[in-house]
């Protein structure tokens, strides 16, 4: 029995795949699966949502957003907003909802259509708005979300995709869950952008019906911070310039005047927007 000191061939126990190649394949694979899943779930909710009657929606979500209503500041402004909202929703003939408005103490300008018919508007938005027409368009846009049932779609998609992420999370892989979440978010953003454009279009219609012209529709975008760069690219809403362009084109196509007299906002103790302006500087046609 003799000993042979030779060594076995090197590298047998390592698969000779380049790690970057492996990484690329895996990242693309996981992202594609997650994006595909998110898109499938989005389509599935889109099919399901129109079948939920608004009355059932109101019943389902009654009580869900009581907290949201209580968080409102209350008072004269909410009443005034409700009056404006009623005027706008009167032009939506088959409106099945009972709408109400709450004002939230948030500095970020935002408006949210909550399931059940409550529209939440932030202080930050009200501070920036300068005319009644501008505010009316914002409300019309939110009514557009109800008209298209977007608030339910968003909710359904969110819940469905969260379930998928929980399932992925069960595998114990943090990196996969993170990657899937990012890919899913991007896919959902694509769907959201379409929704926002549709809601814009509906808001424009209501605005034209209420005032006879569409002045003020694009004012709000001038009062928002610029959305250039990374945050704009990642935003759920289409870029401002694009929205302004689409709105103007839609108004022109429908024959609604782009100019008109804007009505002042008469907040109980507020001087902002007291003067009627004919044209927003820099945004003239």
């Amino acid at each position: 029995m003799s000993f042979d000191p030779s060594l076995p061939k090197d590298g047998i126990n390592v698969t000779p795949t380049h790690p970057l190649r492996e990484g690329l394949l895996l990242v693309v694979g996981v992202a594609a699966v997650a994006a595909g899943l998110a898109a499938m779930l989005a389509v599935a909710t889109d099919l399901l949502v129109p079948r939920v009657p608004p009355r059932l929606e109101a019943r389902l979500f009654s009580g869900w957003f009581d907290g949201a209503a209580e968080a409102g500041t209350g008072g004269a402004r909410e009443q005034q907003l409700t009056v404006l909202l009623d005027r706008m929703s009167a032009h939506w003939l088959e409106n099945p909802y009972q709408f109400s408005v709450v004002v939230w103490e948030e500095s970020e300008p935002n408006a949210i259509a909550l399931p059940g018919g409550t529209i939440a508007i932030t202080e930050g938005l009200l501070e920036r708005v300068e005319s009644e027409n501008e505010l009316a368009f914002v409300l019309g846009h939110e009514l557009g979300h109800y008209h298209n049932r977007d608030h339910l779609r968003g909710l359904g998609r969110g819940v469905a995709f969260s379930l998928v992420l929980v399932a992925v999370g069960l595998s114990g892989s943090g990196s996969a869950t993170q990657l899937a979440a990012i890919a899913g978010q991007f896919t959902q953003r694509g769907f959201n952008r379409v929704q926002e454009s549709d809601a814009d279009r509906f808001g424009l219609e209501l605005l034209a019906a209420e005032y006879g012209h569409t002045a003020g529709a694009t004012d709000f975008f001038d009062h928002l911070p610029s959305d250039d760069g990374l945050s704009g690219y990642l935003s759920t809403h289409p870029l401002h310039d694009q929205r302004i362009h689409t709105l103007r084109a839609a108004a022109r196509a429908a024959g609604w005047p782009l100019r008109g007299k804007r009505r002042a906002l008469g907040w109980p103790s507020d001087s902002v927007g007291a003067e009627v302006r004919e044209q927003v500087p820099g945004r003239g046609e």
């Binding site: 030779s6 061939k9 047998i12 126990n13 399932a167 069960l170 595998s171």
Partner: protein, 104 residues
């Protein structure tokens, strides 16, 4: 290639021996199987998907070990041992090792 997990190959004599040869592989099962196994954990019983995975991996490890022995010019591996360890959650490492020898 003769494989055994005893000291010798019965009926033959070892004329030459080399060092330790080994084969290993790390395997993971896909997430669908993982989730099904999660349900199976409630009722108990054999986790077929896992048995399959480990069998496959063990064969893989053995094949690599044999490949090492062949590269040495050996014709048998004796005293083979297997060891299984969980490297990460959902991934198992199968390791087979033995002594490469030449028998006559």
């Amino acid at each position: 290639m003769i494989l055994s997990n005893i000291e010798t190959v019965p009926g033959k004599t070892i004329t030459r021996f080399f060092g330790v040869v080994s084969g290993s592989t790390v395997r993971a099962k896909h997430i669908g199987k993982d989730i099904l196994a999660g349900f199976r954990n409630i009722v108990g019983g054999e986790l077929k998907a896992y048995t399959e995975l480990l069998t496959e991996a063990r064969e893989d490890a053995l094949r690599r070990m044999v490949e090492q022995a062949e590269s040495l010019g050996a014709n048998a591996v004796v005293n083979i041992r297997f060891s299984t360890s969980s490297v990460a959650q959902g991934a198992a490492e199968l390791f087979a090792y033995g002594t490469a020898v030449t028998v006559e």
